[in-house]
Symmetry: C2
Subunit: 165 residues, 2 copies
């Protein structure tokens, strides 16, 4: 069992795993609607079309796990990206590992703040939704369609990770 | 000039114009993530592929108009749907008219509450983003691609609508 303290979520740190969805001066943005709106443009590579899939929009309502949070299980979606954008004013955890064969030593734990969404690229290992503090809603953009699109991996006890909050 | 008081936004009232994106018991939902998350499933018909388009995810940061709010201009997107999901805890206005030739008498004005998103179906006339109360962020799912995808209509002065808040 390892212990990991979450690191801050930044676009640069998250780039190997997917896209940070955030209204930041670091992304391309420009005024629209006669100056009444600033558009932070094209923040995520949505990829849902494999094997006849289509883009679906859903809301996930997630209850925080009973603490301490232990990473015992990871998953990935071979056929699609999956985006999570928080609709509640609460932070949440983002636990990822690089695509390919699962490498327990390469797991990263990020703390996402309210206002920060993520888009996992196809194949990126991630934990399921980990709300913090209160029941939280997330807008989820993922693939809806036939075919097997979720692979799970149970971590060996020695590889499991306790998140230090 | 007409005056319209916004009506509440419900899925039934909005159906002629698009989808209501809301975690409601009225939509299909089911537990996932070993019971820690409830998935409110497949809430919007995303349609962005016309003429080589793809699904884009952006954030709109909208400043409320100086009051009173007058509907002078409507628009529609012939090639795609466009979804708005509020990321801020503020209500906003949704002003729509049926697709086809613009009919000023058929304009509807809805008040969306925090937690209620909308997805305009292709061709639905709508006003641009109308935040209320404070600068507000919206997650927007629309088409990114070449081609002319915005048609605007300026309302005649007699057809303009003052929104009574």
């Amino acid at each position: 069992m390892r212990h990991i303290k979450p690191e801050p979520l930044t676009a640069a740190a998250f780039r190997p795993f997917g896209d940070l969805i955030e209204a930041s001066d670091a992304v391309r943005h420009f005024p629209i609607n006669y100056g009444n709106t600033e558009r932070y443009h094209d923040l995520a590579a949505i990829d849902t079309g494999a094997e006849g899939g289509r883009t679906g929009v859903s809301i996930f309502r997630s209850t925080p796990l009973e603490g301490p949070i232990v990473v015992r299980l990871m998953e990935y979606h071979p056929l699609s990206s999956q985006a999570f954008v928080p609709l509640s004013p609460n932070p949440y955890l983002v636990v990822v590992a690089p695509k390919g064969g699962f490498d327990a030593g390469a797991v990263r734990v990020f703390r996402a703040e309210a206002g920060q969404g993520v888009n996992y690229h196809p194949g990126t290992w991630h934990h399921f939704s980990l709300a913090l503090g209160a029941v939280s809603d997330f807008l989820v953009i993922d693939r809806i369609g036939e075919g097997s699109n979720c692979v799970e991996h149970n971590l060996e006890p020695a590889d499991q990770i306790t998140v230090v909050l």
